[in-house]
């Protein structure tokens, strides 16, 4: 609340989003998109999507996610557009008109800088949401123990109208990405889902991943699966049951691009619909 008044609503938004995406962050807020369906039939189709940052999946009760910054890639690689976008107090929502058969990719990629330093013996933080080119100005002279962390974060999901296609899985080569071995719109509870993770386009070993089933409000313990990627960057997930899963993978390395940053935090989030067999 204090921060909101000091930095304004926009900064507060960034603050919350960044806190949600910081690997290893003490705050476990989860950024999620929830598509109404992921496997569609017919000549064309509409889906509606909710986006929020909250602890419980998939219940909005804290902060909206998007719709600013959400991009759409059509099966043929061209850019699509979201429609009827609205930003509520605790949830964003938008529609998507699937007017082309195949697999679509919807989501966002964000990068940010997180930093702290000591000044006169007191711990200080860079304002959250600070941009790389502002860092020099933001750190006063005389600061010591400067730690700057760069964060690169993706949150995306896939939707297929008709037969699945693969074109949207071509990696960009930037940050942590997921290239499915099992198509994300071909997941079924009695078969393993296999996913390959890449960092800057190369297989990423040792990436820790958690998949959490939605609907946890009505369970004493959340239903979740954990895995770590192997040398090929692959993870195999056995689904405890059908449903909509929120999957988060995170890791860090030292391949920073922000001047002065010593660590690069890498995050990847997707929402996966696992069908009943």
């Amino acid at each position: 609340m204090k921060m909101r008044s000091r930095l304004g609503a926009r900064a507060a938004l960034l603050a919350v989003s960044l806190a949600a995406v910081l690997p290893g962050s003490a705050q476990a807020h989860r950024a999620w998109f929830l598509p109404s369906e992921t496997i569609l039939s017919g000549e064309d189709a509409w889906i509606t999507v909710d986006g929020a940052i909250s602890n419980d999946l998939f219940y909005p009760n804290h902060f909206p996610l998007g719709p600013d910054g959400v991009t759409v890639v059509k099966p043929d690689g061209s850019a699509g557009a979201i429609e009827n976008a609205a930003r509520g107090k605790i949830r964003s929502t938008f529609d998507l008109h699937l007017d082309q058969p195949g697999t679509w990719k919807i989501g966002n990629m964000r990068s940010g800088v997180f930093g702290r330093y000591k000044l006169n013996g007191e711990q200080q933080r860079l304002p959250r949401g600070a941009q790389a080119d502002e860092i020099e100005k933001l750190i006063p002279s005389g600061a010591t123990d400067i730690e700057i962390r760069e964060n690169v974060m993706r949150n995306e999901f896939f939707v297929t109208l008709g037969a699945p296609t693969d074109a949207v899985f071509t990696p960009s080569g930037k940050g942590l990405e997921m290239v499915p071995v099992t198509h994300p719109n071909d997941l079924v509870a009695n078969e393993e889902g296999v996913f390959r993770f890449l960092i800057d386009g190369k297989p990423a070993a040792g990436v820790e991943l958690t998949a959490i089933l939605g609907g946890g409000r009505y369970a004493n313990q959340p239903v979740e699966v954990k895995a770590t990627s192997d040398a090929k960057g692959e993870v195999r997930l056995a689904w405890p049951q059908p449903g909509m899963y929120w999957l988060e993978a995170e890791t860090k390395d030292k391949n920073t691009s922000v001047p002065g940053a010593t660590v690069r935090g890498l995050g990847y989030v997707t929402t996966l619909e696992v069908m009943a067999p």
Partner: protein, 167 residues
């Protein structure tokens, strides 16, 4: 259906050779349900071979809805949609939904052409608007020397199902 000179061909069938000129009859009972809002189910019938090969034999859906709108709900037959429906044209094998009671489906030899002799699962999936979904599987063999019938029964959305294959 007729024992004509075709038996000579099927008699020669081996594991590797295609099942030729067989026909199949599938009897499907659609249960009468006393529910407030009843819609005839969408039904898909397909063959699943070893190694996951599939062939759709028949799809009953709201084919005549304006603007192809009936196709929007084909994915409700979720097993068929995933395994076969979404990657194949159903134009030649689809028909309108059918009423409760016994229904007969005749699969012509042409629909089975090219399928290798061997063991298959005949799968029937029914999905009903504001209702449930059910899958019934029957083991069938293509390329056999004599006529055979497999039977199974559903519990909720399907009644008895019988498949008769005649060489």
């Amino acid at each position: 259906m007729r024992k004509t000179s075709l038996f000579a061909l099927t008699g020669a069938a081996t594991i590797a050779s295609p099942a030729m000129a067989e026909t199949m009859t599938v009897d499907i009972t659609i249960p009468r349900l006393s529910v407030a809002e009843y819609h005839r189910p969408y039904v898909a019938v397909w063959l699943e071979g070893e190694g996951g090969k599939v062939r759709t034999l028949s799809v009953w859906y709201d084919k005549d809805k304006r603007g192809g709108e009936g196709k929007k709900w084909l994915n409700e037959m979720r097993t068929w949609w995933r395994k076969a429906g979404r990657s194949a044209s159903i134009d030649g094998v689809s028909g309108a939904t059918r009423a409760p009671g016994p229904q007969k489906l005749s699969i012509p030899a042409a629909a089975l052409r090219g399928l290798p002799a061997g063991n298959y699962q005949l799968v029937v999936e029914a999905a009903r608007e504001v209702g449930g979904r059910e899958v019934v599987k029957l083991p069938v063999t293509l390329g056999g020397k004599s006529a055979s019938t497999a039977r199974a029964s559903g519990k909720t959305e399907l009644g008895s199902v019988a498949a008769t294959i005649k060489p």
